[in-house]
């Protein structure tokens, strides 16, 4: 007997526990915690900009969550835990803007696509068109991931989309996984951002430029989430990233400056 009563009791206890768990708004420790969701392609640049920002704003702790912009956007929509979002595409910033609300939105960097190969270039890739040759093993980021969509756009511009897509051996989850496959030498070629070929990656891959007339320029927007509890700090961070300090770091890592607005 009493089975249902004890279950009811237990439900009460769990709900009570849940209620106290969500009560704490401010995190302890003294430092103000700023949570930034940023596209995976920004990881090196943002990590550097983040520690510069922390140095310039003592008592601040910037935490990053890097991932594919689409994943980050859905996480922001469902959990709302970000103070700042830096996206690799307008599409996902628009989504967040519609569903959560943003302020101080600004384009802060641009990026281009490049073909990368293992250093010994086993398939002898010398141009974008070579990706369409039979038997070349190509890795792209999956559809829906900004760099994957840009890569398909560029292939379409070059008129070789079908041929290259039939050479694709894997749709990877983000650009870092694409780069990892090339460094490991598992695939013959991939299309990623020029900024993915960082100083650490450059010696481990070969790069082949994509002509400007078929290349795609990705624009990165950043914005403060309207749900943030640290609006001033978040605005300061956005200004820092889009300001001269951020721009210098981004340029250093292969990003192009944002178009003058």
């Amino acid at each position: 007997m009493g089975g249902t009563r004890s279950i009811a009791l237990l439900l009460g206890i769990s709900l009570a526990l849940l209620a106290c768990g969500s009560g704490d708004g401010a995190s302890g420790g003294g430092a103000t915690e700023l949570t930034v969701f940023a596209a995976a392609s920004l990881s090196d640049a943002m990590t550097r900009i983040g520690s510069d920002f922390e140095a310039a704003h003592p008592g601040t702790n910037v935490t990053f969550n890097f991932g594919a912009s689409n994943d980050l956007a859905s996480a922001i929509e469902s959990e709302g835990t970000a103070d700042v979002f830096a996206s690799a595409s307008d599409t996902y910033m628009d989504d967040v803007s519609d569903r959560v609300g943003v302020e101080r939105r600004v384009d802060f960097a641009q990026n281009q696509l490049v073909v990368i190969t293992p250093p010994d270039n086993p398939a002898g890739i010398t141009s974008l068109d070579d990706l369409a040759a039979p038997g070349v093993q190509v890795v792209l980021a999956a559809e829906g991931v900004p760099v994957g969509d840009y890569a398909r756009q560029s292939l379409e511009n070059a008129g070789i989309e079908d041929a290259v897509l039939s050479n694709v051996v894997s749709d990877e989850e983000d650009d870092s996984s694409v780069v990892a496959k090339i460094i490991a030498g598992e695939a013959d070629a991939a299309i990623v951002y020029t900024s993915d070929v960082t100083s650490g990656v450059a010696p481990q891959v070969g790069s082949v430029a994509i002509p400007d007339d078929v290349n795609v320029v990705a624009t990165y927007p950043i914005a403060v989430m309207s749900t943030t509890l640290h609006a001033d700090l978040a605005r300061a961070f956005v200004e820092y990233v889009s300001g001269s300090e951020g721009e210098a770091t981004l340029a250093d890592l292969g990003f192009l400056p944002a178009p003058a607005s």
Binding site: S6, L10, L11, A68, D71, A142, G144, V169, S170, D171
Partner: protein
């Protein structure tokens, strides 16, 4: 014994058990609640879930079979041979059970990838595992094989050796004893190992995406299809997840209490 009151579970155990069941069941119930049932058929067909389902069945059955063929002999060696360092050997072959599967994937790339320490020899004779269905089978087997080893070793250890001794005393050859005495006695554990390995193989994600990549129709099994659908179509991700839940539930229910309550 028959008079023992049956319904005397202490309150605290009932309470904690209810919490435990709720903890596991709630996310599954949430999937059912959130699923866009009205678009069931379109969502599943447009997201390529059927292709992924077929591939998942093929890959998981092949991995379960391979786990049994390679795992049962390993269990035999661990249970019966006197080789030194047996406990270290056991720890090594059970390791994939506790490692993050992505670590298995990275290890498999280093070993059997095109540039891997063994894979380059395979590549030289024209065999490539990465980005192929065989790569998915290899990655999945790596993760499922410990379940066969654990189940079969436990079975061998609890086997009464007198049956086998009696058979050999009566002049049966070693092969005859194996086929007609040992294996039939081990059947429950072999079946348990096979089914557990199969269930684990169905859910494998990390090692597969790392080693075999993700391509619809070739290496994209159901868990990978869920992951990819999540990028573009959360509704399809939920429906594909439910398909996987249903499959796994069928496999686990099929073994009922027989495997766990010996």
């Amino acid at each position: 014994m028959a008079d023992l009151p049956r319904n005397r579970t202490p309150l605290v155990i009932t309470a904690l058990a209810a919490m435990g069941i709720l903890f596991v069941a709630l996310p599954l119930a949430a999937l059912l609640v959130r699923a866009p049932w009205s678009h069931l058929i379109d969502e599943l067909s447009s997201s390529g879930a059927w292709t992924a389902l077929r591939l998942s069945i093929e890959v998981s059955l092949a991995a379960a079979a391979l786990s049994l063929i390679l795992g049962a002999p390993v269990a035999w060696v661990l249970a019966r041979s006197k080789i030194p360092g047996r406990s270290v050997l056991r720890a090594i072959v059970i390791l994939p059970l506790v490692l993050p599967p992505v670590v298995g994937g990275v290890g498999l790339l280093a070993a059997l990838g095109r540039r891997g320490i063994a894979g380059r020899w395979l590549d030289a004779i024209g065999i490539q595992l990465t980005f192929t269905i065989w790569g998915a089978v290899v990655a999945t087997t790596f993760v499922s094989i410990p379940l066969v080893i654990l189940a079969v070793e436990a079975g061998l250890r609890s086997l009464d050796p007198r049956f086998e001794q009696a058979a050999s005393t009566m002049g049966a050859s070693r092969g005859y004893v194996l086929r007609h005495v040992t294996l039939p006695l081990l059947r429950p554990q072999l079946a348990a190992g096979l089914v557990l390995a199969w269930a684990r193989a169905l859910g494998e994600f990390g090692a597969t995406i790392t080693f075999a990549g993700n391509l619809a129709g070739r290496t994209q099994t159901l868990p990978l299809a869920v992951y990819q659908a999540r990028q573009t179509d959360p509704g399809a991700a939920i429906l594909t997840s439910l398909l996987l839940v249903a499959m796994s539930l069928i496999v686990l229910v099929s073994m009922r209490d027989r495997v766990f309550a010996r």
